[in-house]
Point group: C2
Chain length 460, copies 2
């Protein structure tokens, strides 16, 4: 009798699991098919990139992007679409930057630079000074104030090519950009030039945010990025002529904060409307390009996740939200506001997914969650195998969803192929022509499939 | 005592396996590091693509490529480098093709076409005829000779976007290109226009080989590819005006076979010199571009495999050969010659790896081998995990290594990310600027790592 019971249980379990698996397989196949044959992410991104363009927080374009994405979400027949007001910093680049290397003999060679986000301008006549090249903050300490005072510090530690995930090479090198000015100022430097965070050699300077930390205004010094080719040039010229001078002029300015918005759309859950699943990207971008990869791609994919669920006939049990965060690049104000209000309103977020690593072929997800939650989600890996999605790893999610971290919400980041991302990141070539339609659509389908499974099975 | 023996065995087995695994991990890490920090594949490809260029079999450029690759292999200090003579077909495109659509009212619209490889020319004054659009050979049969005779058949079945691997979408659609003229001719067509095998909409016509099968000369008709944008245009215009005419003129010609070469380099094995492991790509390319992805990438990666093994200090037990096959695109003569001679000389090839799917981020390998061999090789998957190489699947290897198939040799193909490949395949944009250095180098390292493991552990 006992054996019979066990056998019955096993058969029932097998049948239940088989039918469940087949059904999920069919739904996920439909999501991929729909994204690849009638996805909207690519057309939407074409509009965002080519009709609106770069959209730094506080800019007119950022407001146009808010208005347009809300209009597009309104057309999808969601249960609710709204704007969430948030005050954001407004930094403006001003006229194009200019820089040259001046040899001891007076010959000058122009180089490609751009101001780092949040940096001060130079004085209107620019800054000209001798240069010291360093790789690390330890180098600064070793040299000391006597060697650095009155000079421009040139941070020239390349991104390491031997990291397989380029995001790790970025993490390894970006202290130069984010804290270089703050550190160099302590030794009396008058300006900072930072090698662009780019793994290849080319002529594009890559901007990105920096911070002065707690430095008093009197000690803040201007900071700019230099293209990798020109970083190599400057380094070579310095090795031949340590008395050369570097000149740069930039015209950027931090203005008063202005009102902007997160853009939010929601399908309200049929069974557990008070449990929220969030998918999103950041709507702001840097100003040098149209921000197609960073992060127009993630926003348009996230919008299409809700649309794909709808056209695939999925009626979620839980409430699914797309959130287009404002101001990821230079303040994180949108994500902070969203998380603050979620907390204040006691909203139970069970899952938050971010796509902010470019619109390349999706490889999988990284998760920030408990071991048990990770094991549960990893159990779905076989469902993703036909789509060549294999990367399920603990560690890291995304800057915006990170604000929702509370020990129970599962945070996740889409992980597209990372090899080309830093060719474009924060530079003037981050434009729509660098996007491949299928890669973008595969990403949207991968996100939609994960959201479908989370909605169906929960996270615990 | 028995328990003790088992315990001792288990511990020994554990230690043996752990040390083996660590050592392999370290070697593979070195191979990747060396490829990413001092790889030559990218510089070599720059030379092949930009200093030599397109290299269709029998062309002067193909001979320059033979000479230059042999010279580069000579510099590597291999045990043996040689040329393997082979007679190859010589097809020449002649002057650029020209085509237009002529509406019933006489208005003409020029469109982008190119002759398919091995096609005949049109008469010198071109071909002008009404058009019938079909999707399949079954469509031809349904229409019959009465509807087709004297007309141009327009094959317009798109590559299916819902396949995840684009190579499957290619296989699904390429009968139109390879056999379209042969089939349409049977119904009295006077020419064939084939939608380019390209998943995106753009203006590039994609060439590629076609065959007339056993058709007598009198029944051979000219065949050309049309860009996907112009295929859409032609289809739309046909739907509005079924009496429109299509004109095309092409000037290609099949000349007599000429002498060419496979280029081969070898590190002779220290223990089993008579067991051969082959890695290669095809040195010929189509003539419309420099063939960076197809297959300059695979050739340069294969050359770098031997170099990476050397600089990493690996002394193979078996003989490792790089083979750059001539004439994959329009005849497979090089691969046939290599396989014939290998058989004639009783060479025991245990493994043959091909890279001929573009220089994109490597995802893994496909294998054509026995279940036991596949299981053995799949046991190494964990060694590749840190490099995001996860795809180990049975089925398909590569056209060139396929000639070595004999039931015992393991055949394999590198599988890079496939999403962008057919954007470039056989078209004039298959150029060096479409190559990402890191992606190419990761491919070379992945191939070198597999060759290292095969050499160390064999295939059985």
């Amino acid at each position: 009798m006992k054996k019979l019971l066990i056998a019955t249980f096993c058969i029932t379990f097998f049948i239940f699991n088989t039918s469940r698996a087949q059904s999920d397989e069919a739904v996920i196949k439909s999501l991929y098919n729909n994204s690849l044959t009638q996805g909207k992410s690519y057309d939407w991104l074409n509009y965002l990139s080519n009709q609106i363009g770069g959209r730094l927080s506080g800019s007119l374009n950022a407001e146009r992007a808010v208005k347009w994405t809300k209009e597009e979400l309104d057309k999808l027949g969601l249960d609710k679409v709204w704007l969430q007001p948030v005050m954001v910093p407004k930094w403006v680049r001003g006229g194009k930057e200019y820089a040259y290397i001046e040899s001891a003999s007076g010959k000058s060679t122009t180089v490609n630079i751009c101001a780092l986000g949040s940096s001060l301008a130079t004085p209107s006549f620019g800054v000209k000074a001798p240069v010291v090249e360093v790789k690390t903050f330890e180098d600064l300490a070793k040299m000391g104030s006597d060697s650095i005072r009155g000079k421009i510090v040139f941070f020239n530690r390349p991104m390491r090519p031997d990291f397989i995930l380029t995001s790790n090479a970025y993490s390894d090198a970006n202290d130069q950009r984010t804290k270089g000015a703050m550190e160099a100022s302590k030794y009396g430097a008058v300006g900072v030039i930072v090698r662009s965070l780019n793994l290849r050699l080319d002529d594009f300077p890559h901007t990105g945010n920096m911070s002065y930390g707690d430095l008093p205004n009197s000690q803040k010094i201007p900071a700019a990025a230099i293209s990798t080719n020109d970083a190599e040039l400057l380094s070579t010229m310095l090795s031949l002529d340590e008395d050369l001078k570097f000149y740069f002029k930039q015209n950027c300015k931090q203005l008063d904060d202005v009102l902007s918005y997160n853009v939010i759309g929601q399908i309200t859950g049929s069974e557990y409307p008070d449990e929220y699943i969030v998918v999103g990207g950041h709507l702001d971008s840097w100003d040098l390009a149209d921000g197609s990869h960073d992060d127009g791609a993630g926003c348009m994919q996230s919008m299409d996740v809700l649309r794909l669920l709808k056209i695939t006939g999925i009626k979620p049990k839980r409430s699914i939200r797309v959130v287009l965060y404002m101001n990821e690049e230079n303040g994180m104000r949108g994500a902070s506001k969203y998380a603050d209000l979620a907390k204040q309103n006691n909203e139970n977020h069970i899952f938050a997914l971010e796509s902010d690593s470019g619109g390349f072929t999706p490889r999988g997800f990284s998760f920030d969650c408990s071991e048990a939650q990770f094991n549960k989600i990893s159990g779905w890996k076989t469902l993703f195998k036909p789509y060549l999605i294999h990367y399920f790893e603990q560690g890291g999610s995304g800057a915006d969803v990170g604000k929702l971290k509370n020990g129970t919400t599962v945070l996740a980041g889409l992980r597209p192929d990372s090899q080309r991302y830093f060719d474009y990141h924060h530079a003037e070539n981050d434009t729509f022509d660098a996007i491949n339609k299928r890669e973008l659509e595969l990403g949207a389908a991968t996100m939609a499939s994960m959201i479908y499974l989370i909605d169906k099975y929960g996270t615990n």
